[in-house]
Every structure is written in structure tokens, then in C-alpha cells.
Symmetry: C2
Subunit: 316 residues, 2 copies
């Protein structure tokens, strides 16, 4: 379900590194060449290219890209080139910083990655920032956001298909009771959302919907402007229908006056190798326009070329 | 710092498996033979013996031991034979069950294992119980115990030596302020104890001691019978001076009228390959009697032989 197109016969990492080095050399930078290489290599291939580049030219490829590129195009290439776990560690660290703080990004990473992927983000966070992800989240968040985000980022959910229907029933009732009393930050509600396996949570929410007549997220919309409720609804969406969540982030980013490039870049670079195909289908269905056309209309230059290559646009 | 004695030349796993099978065969069981093999093999060796046994005799070695042995001796051999991560998963699962529930065991495992070891316990828990450790802890605990134990078991602490002294200072002040107000379950206090690296926490507590005149655990003794405060003090001890914590558990287990075999077996089997040497030194210092003599005086039969072998008693 990835959307990037890796050519059937890929040059050796040494050749790729050499071409990249040529793209940086001389007057100006050859952005097309950079895109033609990096946007068409998978994570494992990019990793070897980065290692080979460092060994051959004595400089981290990311540093070189940082010097040569700028603005949105730069950010998209840098994020894309990073190893997925490192990239998520970088994005979540950014999300705990004052000026770039974002509970959304933290929630998104915690809820849409697999248990092992999330654990690898935590390992990459140790290596890069000399502290732990949950330590920074706990330190930089407060109140209900703290109460939801710390366990979301610390959990190691079971991923098997087993579902306990009796439990689903009893926990659906607990959820309904707490929501009915507007106790949206209740320990039990947080416990269920942050610790149950995605399969179990899904069963619980299906029961909720069948038994109480509304999808849970409808009942959690009591106050549509409440920021905590928004985050909670999104967490539930990420845990059960991630492609719907990402479709909406893209839709809002593209429709926004001026385009939200940070969100657009983040979703495209983090999902291109995961579930972008599904997200594209969802986007087309919901907006009656293909995602690549929407992106093409809303962006320009090398940034546009990079994004289109990542979402698998035919000519890119 | 392990105390078990592995002979310089170890028989092949096939030979060990064969000897074990002989120990089970015929009239009665040869307990001495079982101890002479299993108590003198390290975790990696025991793992291969278990695999070889299963391949050769078509039965899990643990099942065979379970059939042949009984009571405290059985429990000590079974716990010891388990892979460390599996053993901790087993002990913590037991600690979430109604009849064997124990916040102490959960806290002990969460606080005294390395970050990676704790993560491996969580993986072993998935494999064995088809759910997650934090899921079971969150479900089976309530109130302040829940608030402390869930993040303790979910955390993946940074383990580098880096210490931020400014942070140590400011967090020591926060701790002192909360304790002064008797807000022992305050979010900030829990955050500091559950997310900071052991090195950072230690620096914070040293600052606390220097600046406010008391070790934190002294200030946390306001009500000596408060169960939550007891657990919190023990968690702090486990995180900073694990050998002192374990010495005390052994002391209480041995001095108890009737001996607490569960605690004794747990500490001996889980620490024999880790830091039992230090615990023995601490025990001798605090009780003026060597640990092996205390164990010998308080236990008997095969159980006694097994424990003495694990704590490195010369004749065992």
C-alpha cells in the first residue's frame, strides 16, 4: 500500500551517493536529480545510501541536503530521507518544543504506528535526545492532555487478533456511562483507550455503536470546540480508521487558506511507504478529486515535484 | 555480580537434557541431580537445555519438572528455569491475579530491571498472555496505586549517564513542595519518579537531601502505615539502591514467623544472575550473619539445597 515507485533496477548505493554529490556540486543545485534518486528509494535503500555517502564524502547526507536546499522542499527531503523511527523521534521532539509544540503530532505518532514501530521511535529518541520520549511529553504537557498523551506514547499494545466480547461489552458500558456524565477525562476511559489492543478497542466501539445508537465520536462531540475532546476523538479515529484520520488532515491542510505545508509534508513523508494508497482512495472518495491533483493545484516548484513523486503521481 | 557457579567445562545440552530425563525416570525423582544441572547453568545455557529437551523428549522441560516436583522446591526450580523475561512476565501476571495480587511485585519488576529488560518482559507478556502488561495492571489496580504502577511499568527510561543539574534542582524543589503539602499522589511527583532516568533521579534526590536536610524517603514516612507511601518509598529505593531494597525483602522474608517462601524464592531466582553478590554483602552488613547461613537456618530439604546453590554457597 506504499505509493513510492522504486525502479525495477536500482543503481548501487555508491552510484546513488555519487549522483547526489554531483547534484550538490558546482553552481546551483540539481533538485530534479535529488528527487529522481531519493523519492524513488525505499527506507532500507535510503539508509544504505546515507551510510555510503557518509563513508565516501565524510559528511552526513542530511547535513549536505540541509546546506543545499531550503524551505518546504528542504523539509520534505530531510524528513523523507530520515529513517522512519528517527523521523518520528524528530517530529515528536519538535512537538514537545515550545514554538513547534503539537499535541496532535504526538497523538498521531503514538496511535498510528505499530507497537514495535512506536517502541523503535522511543529507542531512536534515547539515541538522539539523551532522554526518553515519555519524559519529554510528561514534562511539556499538562492537565487532561498530559493524562491522555503520556500513556498513549508509553503503551505497548498487544497486536493479536483475539477479542474478548464479554470485556468489549462491559467496557462499552463503562465508556457510555462516563461520556453520559461528561467525565471525558475519567481514569477508566483513558485506561481503555490507551491500553487495549486495537482489535479489542474496535470490538468495544462496535458494541458501543450497536447498543447505544451512536458512534462514540458522535457522543464525544458535545462541545465541538473543546480541544481535549477534539484530540480524544482523533486518537480514537487514529486507532481504528487511520486512513480516515489522515484524509482529514490532508483535506484541512490543502483547503486551508495558504496551505498547511507542515501537515502536508508530515503526512506525505510518514505515510508514503505505509498506507498512502488507502489514504489516496479515501481522499478521492471524500473530495471527488484525486489527491495528486489537489496537491498539484496547491503547491509549486520542487516541493510539488517531491510530494507528487512520494504519492506516486505517474509523471513524477 | 552473579552468584551461581557454572563449572569450567559444561556438558553438552544433549547430555544435560538426558541427565534430567534420567532424574525424572523410574521410582522417585533424583532432586540432587536436577539441582546439580539446572542451578549451575546460566540463562543462555538453560534456554538451550530446554529447547533440546523439548526436541528430544517431545515435552516441555517445565511440564516435566512440574509433574515431578512439588511445593517450594518446585516453584524455585520452575522460576529459575524460565527465561528471565518470561519469568518476570509470569510473576507480574500472577501479581495482577486476584488471589496472588501484589503491587509490590509489579513495582519491583518495573523499577529494578533495565529499560531493555523491562521491554522484553512486555514482549514476553504479549506472547504468553495475549494482552499487554500495562493493560492488565491498569485493569486490576485502582486509585493512587494505578496512578503510580501503570507509568512505572510502561516507561522506557533513558539510561545514559547525562545529568542536568538545573533540572535536578528544580525538580527537587517540586518534590519537596508536594511532599510538604502531603500531595503524595501529585501528577508532578509521579511524573518525576516514573519518567526520569535513574541517573537524573538520583541527582535530584541528592539535591533534595542536601538542600532540605532529609532523604526523601524520610519525608515520605509521615504515616508509616500508609500502603501507598510504603510502595512509593520502595519504588524510590528500587530505582536508586536496588540492593538495599532486596536486602530488606530477604530480611523480612527470613525473619518472618514461618518464612515468606514466595518472596525468598522470587528474590533469589530473579537476582542470582544479576546482583546477588551485592545483595549478599548488603545482607551480611545489615544482619551480621551471611545470607547463606540465614537461608540454611530457615529452610530445609531440596528447597534449601536449591537456594544455597543459587546464592553461591560453597558446598552447593
Amino acid at each position: 500500500m506504499a505509493t513510492i515507485a522504486v525502479p525495477p533496477s536500482v543503481p548501487s548505493p555508491a552510484e546513488d551517493a555519487e549522483q547526489l554529490q554531483k547534484a550538490f556540486a558546482g553552481w546551483g543545485t540539481n533538485e530534479d536529480l535529488i528527487i529522481s534518486i531519493l523519492a524513488h528509494r525505499n527506507a532500507a535503500q535510503r539508509k544504505v545510501i546515507r551510510q555510503t555517502y557518509a563513508e565516501t564524502y565524510g559528511e552526513d547526507l542530511l547535513k549536505a541536503l540541509d546546506k543545499e536546499l531550503s524551505s518546504d522542499f528542504e523539509r520534505s527531503v530531510l524528513l523523507w530521507t530520515l529513517d522512519p523511527a528517527e523521523r518520528d523521534a524528530f517530529l515528536s521532539n519538535e512537538a514537545t518544543k515550545r514554538l513547534t509544540s503539537s499535541n496532535w503530532v504526538l497523538m498521531e505518532i503514538a496511535c498510528t504506528r505499530s507497537s514495535m514501530e512506536l517502541f523503535m521511535v522511543r529507542q531512536a529518541y534515547h539515541a538522539r535526545y539523551k532522554k526518553s520520549l515519555e519524559e519529554d511529553i510528561a514534562y511539556h504537557t499538562t492537565g487532561d492532555f498530559h493524562k491522555l498523551l503520556v500513556p498513549l506514547a508509553s503503551t505497548f499494545r498487544y497486536e493479536g487478533p483475539e477479542v474478548n466480547m464479554t470485556l468489549a461489552r462491559s467496557e462499552a458500558k463503562i465508556l457510555h456511562e462516563k461520556i453520559h456524565k461528561k467525565a471525558y477525562n475519567h481514569d477508566e476511559l483513558i485506561r481503555i483507550v490507551t491500553t487495549r489492543s486495537k482489535a479489542q478497542l474496535n470490538a468495544t466501539l462496535n458494541y458501543y455503536n450497536n447498543e447505544f445508537g451512536n458512534a462514540i465520536n458522535k457522543d464525544l462531540k458535545a462541545d465541538p470546540n473543546d480541544e481535549f475532546l477534539k484530540l480524544l476523538r482523533s486518537a480514537i479515529k487514529c486507532l481504528t480508521y487511520p486512513e480516515k484520520y489522515f484524509e482529514k488532515v490532508l483535506r484541512l491542510a490543502i483547503n486551508k487558506l495558504g496551505t498547511d505545508e507542515w501537515a502536508l509534508t508530515r503526512v506525505v513523508t510518514t505515510r508514503a511507504e505505509v498506507d498512502m494508497q488507502r489514504i489516496k482512495e479515501q481522499y478521492h472518495k471524500r473530495n471527488s478529486v484525486p489527491l495528486d491533483r489537489a496537491i498539484a493545484n496547491d503547491t509549486s516548484g520542487d516541493y510539488k515535484k517531491m510530494l507528487l513523486a512520494l504519492v506516486g503521481h505517474e509523471d513524477a
